[in-house]
């Protein structure tokens, strides 16, 4: 790909996305109570934690789909805290939401084309190239190009949601539970895909309940409990951590 992409480097680059002391309340419920996160260029970062730990809330706060009570988000030095969601997307931040949220009454191809709205710089030929590339990555989507999104199976919908996100050629892709409710063999495919996305030069912020798989591919990870970061470290460190093993890996 010759399109403007960050360089692939395993010497982690500069801090790309920074979350400072994020607090989110749903009425009287404190969902996130002061989270600090850093995502560096080229990394796979994963947030793990139980239901209700605040993982999805954190991601939605970054995309500004929900109101933050306090805290700030910066991306490549730019303050995104109060920017509207579509402007945040235009900065090259792609959010593949929980539950996929594909457009059920649009065809697979139309679903993919909506992905390009987030990147105003893409020319017509670049869009076609991206589409071809996505069809190469996901041959099943090519077969079903003219089928309605809602008729796809769960795994195919997840592939479509990720491919739609990649259609904007983002700098960072944030994925919310991509393996949720999928058969183990498809979960493996998804994790292979995540590594492939990183190899193509993109940064990945991954939310997972499947902690062992997530930690295996993650460069660094944060453990969230009750709206706070309780542990952080490299994927390997956390895999070996007895507390993590007891709580999330079931060993």
């Amino acid at each position: 790909m010759e399109r403007a992409l960050p360089e692939v480097s395993h010497e982690w680059g500069e801090t790309m996305l920074k979350v400072n002391d994020l607090v989110v309340d749903y009425g009287y419920v404190h969902a996130v109570k002061g989270i600090d996160l850093e995502v560096n260029q080229g990394e796979i970062i994963t947030l793990i934690g139980a239901n209700g730990a605040g993982k999805t809330t954190t991601l939605k706060a970054i995309s500004n789909l929900i109101k933050k009570s306090s805290g700030s988000i910066t991306f490549q030095g730019e303050d995104l805290t109060n920017m509207s969601p579509h402007k945040i997307v235009e900065h090259g931040i792609c959010h593949v939401p929980e539950g996929r949220l594909i457009f059920p009454d649009l065809t697979v191809k139309e679903n993919l084309m909506t992905g390009t709205f987030g990147n105003k710089k893409l020319s017509g030929t670049e869009k076609d190239e991206l589409l071809e590339e996505m069809f190469e990555w996901f041959p099943r989507l090519k077969e079903r190009m003219n089928q309605l999104g809602g008729t796809l199976s769960g795994g195919e919908q997840q592939m479509l949601a990720i491919a739609r996100g990649l259609m904007m050629n983002p700098q960072i892709i944030m994925m919310d539970e991509p393996s949720l409710g999928l058969a183990p063999i498809i979960v493996e495919e998804i994790f292979e895909l995540i590594e492939k996305i990183r190899e193509s030069g993109k940064t990945v912020l991954l939310i997972e309940q499947n902690a062992s798989m997530a930690l295996n591919i993650a460069d660094r990870a944060y453990v969230l409990e009750n709206g706070r970061v309780t542990l952080s470290g490299t994927g390997k460190e956390l895999l070996d951590d007895p507390k993590v093993q007891a709580a999330y890996l079931g060993t």
Partner: protein, 292 residues
């Protein structure tokens, strides 16, 4: 079949096409904005008045009248969106619904103050000439209505199926959150959807003004209900079925009138609605692409 019944069916089709235009505006608004509207009839009235004044000024130039009603109701649509919808996306649906009812009362009464309570005559906008096609009699006004509605429907369907704006509108109608996450400005897109729905109704106002040869402040009252009825037949958001609903209501009304009196017009359309709601409350449509 006798000629009287045939001409009533032609009249019904013609009126039904106008209803269809108003109803598909409603379906576009409900589909894209996600809230019901009860202001549609008053938008039709504004459209009729806009073209009435432009006809006075331009000497019955049909194109100018149509453009004026389209543009003015587009602007009213922007105001309507800001007042009734923009602030209420996180609130219960009935709030914006009641807000649109209030807005319709405001428009109706403002129109009475500004334009006066009397009917404005819209005479001879189109030369009254009758064409004979076999046993079917078609007036030039009716022909104009047929052509205008068909052209507008074609333009609208091209907009929705061939342009990136159409794709944006459809994306917003299916999932606002996902639309925001692919970088669509949901607020602006929903407002444009609302404006399209209103401007179509405005153009329908021009047609209905010409058809009934008058414009008056309360002309929208039953039209709101009929448009909503037609949209109900299509499950509220299906544009083609809403249009079919409009045509059916127009034909039902006029066949009913053929056997009774014109003052019973509304009995037939709303009787039709009640029967539909009893036997097929979800409308004709079946949700496409639904799985799990």
């Amino acid at each position: 079949m006798d000629g009287y019944l045939i001409s009533q069916i032609v009249n019904g089709l013609c009126l039904g096409l106008i209803y269809a235009l108003i109803a598909l505006g409603v379906a576009v608004i409900i589909g894209i904005v996600g809230f019901a509207t009860f202001t549609q009839g008053e938008i039709v009235m504004i459209g009729a008045y806009s073209s009435y004044y432009v006809f006075l000024w331009s000497g019955n130039n049909l194109i100018y009248g149509m453009i004026a009603s389209f543009m003015i109701t587009w602007i009213i649509g922007m105001i309507l969106y800001k007042v009734c919808y923009a602030k209420f996306f996180d609130s219960p649906e009935y709030i914006s619904l009641i807000c649109t009812i209030g807005f319709s009362m405001l428009l109706k009464n403002l129109a009475q103050i500004i334009f006066g309570a009397e009917k404005k005559p819209m005479l001879n906008i189109i030369e009254n000439k009758i064409y004979h096609l076999g046993i079917i009699e078609l007036s030039r006004v009716q022909l104009m209505v047929f052509i205008t509605v068909i052209v507008m429907v074609i333009i609208l369907s091209l907009l929705f199926t061939r342009t990136s704006w159409g794709l944006k509108l459809k994306a917003v109608s299916q999932n606002r959150e996902a639309a925001a996450l692919v970088g669509i400005n949901v607020d602006k897109t929903a407002m444009i959807g609302n404006c399209i729905g209103c401007a179509i109704a405005g153009a329908a106002g021009t047609l209905i003004g010409i058809y009934y040869q008058s414009a008056y402040a309360t002309m929208g009252a039953t039209l709101s209900m009929k448009a909503f009825t037609s949209a109900t037949l299509g499950g509220l958001t299906s544009v083609p079925l809403a249009a079919l609903g409009g045509i059916l209501i127009g034909v039902t009304e006029n066949i009913g009138i053929a056997f009774s009196s014109a003052s019973f017009r509304d009995i037939f359309s709303f009787g039709f609605l009640i029967i539909m709601l009893i036997f097929k409350p979800t409308g004709f449509g079946r949700k496409r692409g639904a799985r799990a």
